[in-house]
Every structure is written in C-alpha cells, then in structure tokens.
Amino acid sequence: MVLLLCLVIFDMNIEKIEFKEACFAYGQDSEILSNLSLTIFKGETIVVFGKSGGGKTTFLKLTEGLIAPIDGDVIINDKLSLKKASKAELMKYHSHSAFIFQDSGLLNNMNAYDNLALFLRYSTNKKEKEIKDIIVPVMQELSIMEHQNSLPGQLSRAEKKMISIARAMIINPEMYIYDFPFEGLDYFYINKIKNIIFEQKKKRRTLLISDNHLDFALEIADKVLVLYEGKLLFFDSPDKLLQTEHPFIKELLEHKRL
C-alpha cells in the first residue's frame, strides 16, 4: 500500500513546490532562512538573488530536499512533505530533479564518463552499450567527449561544470537547479551554459538558478526571488523588480547598470 502510494506520488510531474513558512539554520547559529513562504510552479524559471551568505544555496538545497527545514515545510504537489518524507520518497524525488553544484560535486575517484554513467548504472538495469548510447550524444552535444577518461582533478573548473551539467541532463529531470552556474567561468563557457539553460527553458523544464548577473535574470526569468537578511524580500516578475523601491534592490539594479 505504501509502495503504491509512493508510485502514485512520483508518477506525477513536479507540478508545484510550496514553501510554507520554512526556516533553516546550520547548527545553533542564527537562522539562515526564516519564514519563507512561496510557490514555484512547473515550467517556471526563477533566478535567486541575495548577498553572499544570504541563504541562496540553502534555499536551493531545501527545494531539492538535500536539507530539511527546521521549522515550516516544503510541500511537493500538495502531497509530499520534504520534512517528513521517507528516504525512499526523497530518493525518488531527487531522481525527478537535478542539482548542479557550485563546485560541480563530481565524484573525484571516478572519471568523467563513470560520473555520467553512475545514475544509469545504479538506478536502471541498462546494459553498458545502452548506457553509452545515452551518454555519448550528451557528451557530444556539450563538446566534452575529450574529457571522458579524465578524473575531475585533471579538469578545469569550467570543464567540471560542463560534466556536472551533462550528469544532470542524463537524468532528464523535470527540474534543474543551478547553484551559481557562471561562477569563475570565462565568457565562452558562460555563453555555452546560458544556451543550455535557454534550451531547457524552451523544453518547459522548471529552472531555479542562483546568480549574481541581473542582466541574465532579466533576460530569462519568469520570476526573480530576492533574499535579504534571511527573509523573502521580493518574488515576482522581472518587470516588477525594476519598479521596486527597496534600497537593497535599488542597489542590485544600480550594480547592473555599472
């Protein structure tokens, strides 16, 4: 019965992610995020802004279910509570979304190809030939074939980031969560990743992106989310952001003009 319930929950798409007064703190420190209430709908592109250490990554990790709120909750499709979810439910949820880590999060003792194959080897019964048939086109699309035998330690930050994105694409998730996708990259790779994100938007994937580039946010976002002092300061369309009078947002916009 429980198994059946799990299947019912996860056969559905991730239509809605609802934060209900979610709070989070690391250890006994002061709260990183407090009373966060908002709803993300399927297919939306949301760009997250805030000061360094302001809780952007924490917000993304809460959305992915990598951490649980200490208070409040994050509810998927009005059914699954990420705070109360069992390990099996969380693992199923994870396989419907992909998190691209700021530092790539590749497994350092595996080469790039094995990193990409990991999900398929673990979660499916596919044979090596079938796995290769899935991985190679993605590697070709992202022009990373030459790195397939390299260990993460032998790759540049940008190359690791590309492999991390490829790993996410192989899962073919409904939602991509990018934690600072352009951090420390040159113009060439920034453009490359922007194009990938635009392609994913065209395919109506839900996208959550933390970033410091307001230009990009204004270009792609359906909604901009601004966190300020651990609280939700703004969550609306980019057009409305431009009309906001809050000093922090004005500073953000000023910075954009610079």
């Binding site: 530092d103 999060g105 673990y122």
Partner: protein
C-alpha cells in the same frame, strides 16, 4: 564545571548513538532485498576487499611470520624447562589464534584502511560528493557506507585467518631453519588437538565486531568533517585513536566473556 561534564556526556552518547545507527543501518542493508544499485554496490565491496584485504597481504604476512617465529622459538625454548610441553598447543591457540592474530590484524587495518576511509569520506564531504549522490537519487549511506563496512568485515576475517596460518606455519618453518627440531606432524597434532569449536567462534566474532567497529568509526569521523578541509587530517587521527580504543575494548570484553 558541571556544564562541561554534562556536555562531554552528551557528546559521548551522541557519538555512540551515531556509531550504533550507522552499524544498524548497514546490518539492515545486508537483508535489504532492494535490487536497485545492487550490482554497483557489489562492485564497490569487491574493490574495498581488494584495497583493504588483498593489498594488506604483504605487510600482514611479514608481521605474522616474524611474530610467529618469535613466539614459537620462545615457547619451545621455555615450555620444556618448566615441564609444560603438554600445554604448548593450548598456549599457541590462546596467544596467536585467539588474541594476537585478531588484535594485531585489526591494528594494521586501522592504520592502513581506517584512516583511508575517514579521510576519503571527509574529502567527499568537503567537495559536496554526498549531496551530489543524493541529488541524483543515490542513497550515500547505501552506496558509500555499507560497502565499506562489509568490505572491512570480510577483509578482516580473511586477514585474521591468513595471519594465524602465516604465524603458525611460517613461524614453525622459520624455527626449523634456525634449529628448533620438532616434526611437523607432532606440531600440527598439538595445535589441532588444542583447538576447540569455541576458539573458532571467538575469532569469528572478534573479526566481525572489530571490522564493524573500525569501519563505522572511520565513517563517523569522515562525516564529522563537514565542509572544512582542515578537519580531514583531524578525522584521520581521531578515527585511529577511537578505533584503537574500540578494538581493545571489544577484544577484552569478548575474551572475558569467552572464559565465563
């Protein structure tokens, strides 16, 4: 003062709680019928046995041989002088098979593999690898912790057996080379007649508990690294110290209970 004692007590029990829950998870996982990832997990267990067990054969072989040589020469030298020739088999079984074999093998594995596991997991914590695994629907405990625990238990069991054989057989051969004259049949009869079923049970129980303790403590300290790279070497050293304490404690308790 009282607050400090209270905090130490809480830390101690939370540590024991963490170690116990990791161990309980791994034991539960042995009986888990979930097929997902099983093939990959079995491959990791095989790799773990290769690194922990196979690659330790040389060092354990040399140590066992030297120790066997010393012990056998001493026993065969002293026992006849005190009229304890009949006890030689019992002494060898009690010292080498039941005590020194498991203890020394465990100590070698703490140095070789316990630190390796603690620092490996520590580095994985620092570089988001655990979160990354979870984010693609792979349970890190099942994928990382369980194979290391099973690999460690299997490796330790086999290595203890190997240690005992090398110490008794190799030691005997080495003793023959330096002039201690006793026929092999007499030597082996002495040993086999002194060995009982309970000796085998005790050794197997020690290898299981010590192997589990080494792996779980190493994993626990790896987890404690969190996001700080400077904590990685600390995890290695703390894992060694606590594993040594655990192994001596476990050895003492099992030995005492086996004689009650």
């Amino acid at each position: 003062m009282i607050r400090s004692i209270g905090r130490s007590v809480i830390n101690f029990f939370s540590y024991i709680g963490g170690v116990t829950s990791l161990f309980a998870f791994s034991i539960k996982e042995i009986f888990n019928r979930q097929k997902e990832g099983r093939r990959l997990i079995n491959q990791i267990i095989t790799k773990q046995i290769f690194f922990t067990g196979y690659l330790a054969l040389n060092s354990i072989g040399i140590i066992a041989l030297s120790l066997g040589l010393i012990t056998i020469i001493q026993i065969f030298g002293i026992a006849p002088k005190i009229g304890a020739e009949d006890m030689i088999g019992k002494i060898l079984v009690a010292t080498i098979i039941r005590e020194i074999g498991p203890l020394l093998t465990a100590i070698i594995l703490i140095g070789r593999s316990g630190t390796a596991i603690a620092t490996e997991i520590g580095n994985m914590m620092v570089s988001d690898e655990f979160d990354a695994l979870e984010s693609i629907g792979i349970d890190p405990l099942r994928f990382i912790v369980y194979p290391r625990l099973i690999g460690m238990i299997i490796s330790l069991t086999v290595l203890i057996l190997y240690f005992d054989v090398m110490a008794l057989l190799g030691g005997f051969l080495a003793a023959r080379l330096i002039g201690v004259s006793i026929p092999f049949s007499t030597y082996s009869n002495t040993l086999f007649s002194a060995m009982s079923f309970i000796d085998i049970v005790v050794v197997l129980f020690k290898s299981f508990t010590m192997g589990a303790a080494i792996a779980v403590i190493a994993v626990m300290h790896g987890f404690k690294v969190g996001r700080s790279p400077t904590m990685v070497p600390v995890a290695g050293t703390r894992s060694v110290v606590n594993s040594l304490l655990a192994v001596f404690l476990v050895d003492g308790i099992i030995t005492v209970f086996s004689y009650i």
